[in-house]
């Protein structure tokens, strides 16, 4: 058997892009609402990520959304991006975004015709099974929030 002394390389997509770090360092819509319509909590027990989303609905519109919690840069940046994108959207639009984000992470590329904006910075996790849960936590949490609101 021959083990070459040739250099071998091994590189992953860089998760910690400037966009991601920007959301982590300067999170958008971080904090709590005084009178949320719905509050939902999400946790990722394996990492210890803990997230609270406060949702304020006006009719079928998500008028405000804020997040609070602690966790890794991926989950926190993903939450920050979520609030920025979903603020002011209709429930139908919110649900489409949730589905699109799921597909984006699962397939490793944006769904046909969808512009992912800052979320593009999260593409790297689709190859990293261990980090997928961090990126999707805010999205699964808001999904539950919408369900709660619809049910009430």
């Amino acid at each position: 058997m021959e083990f070459g002394s040739r250099k071998r390389y091994c590189t992953l997509f860089d998760l910690y892009s400037e966009i991601l770090l920007d959301h982590y360092r300067l999170p958008r819509n971080k904090g709590r609402l005084d009178h949320p319509t719905v509050t939902v909590e999400g946790t990722n027990p394996l990492c210890g990520d803990e997230l609270t989303l406060d949702l304020e609905f006006e009719g079928d519109r998500l008028s405000r959304v804020t997040f609070d919690g602690k966790g890794c840069a991926i989950s926190m940046a993903s939450a920050s991006m979520l609030t920025e994108i979903l603020q002011g959207k209709t429930i139908a639009e919110v649900e489409k975004w949730i589905a699109d984000f799921r597909a984006f992470i699962r397939d490793g590329h944006a769904p046909e015709g969808v512009e992912m904006g800052d979320l593009t910075a999260l593409i790297g996790v689709s190859k990293l099974p261990v980090r997928v849960k961090c990126a999707t936590l805010p999205w699964m949490t808001i999904e539950e929030g919408v369900r709660k609101y619809r049910g009430s």
Binding site: R8, Y9, C10, D14, L21, C47
Partner: protein, 406 residues
């Protein structure tokens, strides 16, 4: 005597560039890398001696059987144990499950107790939880001192004649604590309890003397000691193994089979149902020969020196908290950096080519005891160097800068 450069050259993966930087592999507590000697043994065996073992009468089958049984003897010698009690399993986890089920269900009764510690890996905790649920036996937990050692006096208070089994790790995979297993075995035997030692972290790093410890059961994994995945060891006192029921059944482990019943082969074969991990056993034999050549004493001293250095350098860094005892620790440093989630720390170190682990390290109850969700962990082995610890410290500084923690 090999130099550290010689040793590093034995491990082909250490020449890798990760994300543009030379790999610094500080995750050996999760699994060690494999030297050429082991890969050569694996392929050499497959190229010229491979066949199924124990039943064939042709030359290859005889050679393969001889090599497989030689590996059993080599591994038994490495941990100073009677080869008749050495059962090849898939790993530590299977070994402990085997004891919890085959010994536990037969001999541990309602009203008795199983004494564990809060620093156990899930592999030495969850199987006992299920056994306790099944039998109605009670679980007790050995108290710990603030710096993460076992409180021997506190444990003594829990050790009464109801304790049927004491199951404790030889070395913690989080705190690095090396437990006084010989004293623990003596204390346990004094009240008539059996003792299982989880040697998954100790067997790779310390000279292990199962006979000297006086353990009734001792478990470890091949993949953490330069050997292949897919193989590990349960050593048990042959007379205890003989009294136990089989764990799995099928070929190789039987004597006579009728349509409605069967009788068992002798130990250790009674516990090796089906085609065993043949090539893995042969390669583990090669791993043990490799470690033996470098000597467990050299490895322990090398690991110890690196760990002391790492502990000192890391805990001197602003914002870094180290966990566990400050001295006499195994080749593991577990820590956190203020304001940085350990996953991010590991992710940012990976950008610098430095591989460490982050998470709960299969020890969630211990994380709760430490009051943290997760930690970072750097672990060392015979191929690591002081320069690699500098790369770790540099990487932590970079991570802090990237995340604006400083």
């Amino acid at each position: 005597m090999k130099t550290i450069e010689d040793i590093r050259r034995d491990f082909p993966i250490l020449g890798l560039q990760v994300n543009g930087k030379p790999l610094v592999y500080l995750d050996s507590a999760a699994s060690s890398q494999k030297p050429m000697q082991v890969l050569n043994a694996y392929c050499g065996f497959c190229e010229s001696r491979y066949a199924n073992v124990h039943r064939g009468v042709h030359t290859l089958a005889e050679n393969a059987t001889a090599d497989y049984e030689d590996a059993r003897r080599l591994v038994a010698e490495f941990v100073k144990a009677d080869p008749r009690g050495l059962v090849f399993t898939r790993g530590t986890t299977e070994a402990i499950n085997l004891v919890a089920q085959s010994y536990g269900r037969k001999f541990i009764k309602h009203g008795q107790a199983i004494l564990l510690t809060p620093m156990e890996h899930h592999a030495n905790l969850v199987p006992w939880q299920l056994l306790a649920q099944y039998t109605g036996a009670e679980l007790r937990f050995w108290p710990m001192t603030e710096d993460g050692r076992l409180d021997l006096d506190g444990g003594k208070k829990l050790l009464d004649s109801r304790v049927a089994m004491v199951a404790v790790t030889h070395m913690s995979n989080v705190l690095g604590t090396i437990n006084p297993v010989r004293e623990i075995a003596e204390m346990a035997h004094a009240v008539g309890a059996k003792v299982l030692i989880d040697g998954a972290q100790a067997a790779p790093h310390l000279p292990v003397d199962i006979g000297g410890i006086g353990a009734d059961f001792y478990a470890f994994s091949g993949h953490k000691m330069c050997g292949p995945t897919g193989i590990g060891v349960l050593w048990g006192r042959p007379e205890i193994l003989e009294d136990m029921d089989p764990f799995m059944t099928g070929g190789e482990m039987i004597r006579e089979v009728w349509l409605d019943h069967a009788t068992w082969a002798e130990v250790p074969h009674k516990f090796e149902a089906g085609t065993p991990p043949i090539t893995e056993a042969v390669s583990l034999g090669a791993a043990v020969r490799y470690l033996q050549q470098i000597t467990p004493e050299w490895i322990a001293a090398h690991d110890h020196a690196l760990t002391e250095l790492a502990w000192e350098k890391l805990t001197r860094e602003p914002g870094v908290t180290g966990y566990g005892p400050t001295d006499n620790r195994g080749a593991i440093v577990t820590f956190n950096v203020d304001g940085i989630h350990p996953h991010d720390l590991a992710g940012l170190l990976d950008r610098e080519g430095v591989a460490i682990r982050a998470g709960h390290h299969c020890a969630q109850p211990l994380m709760r005891w430490l009051g943290v969700q997760a930690t970072a962990r750097a672990s060392f082995y015979l191929y690591n160097t002081p320069e690699e610890i500098d790369r770790l410290v540099d990487g932590i500084r970079i991570a802090k800068k990237v995340l604006h923690v400083v």
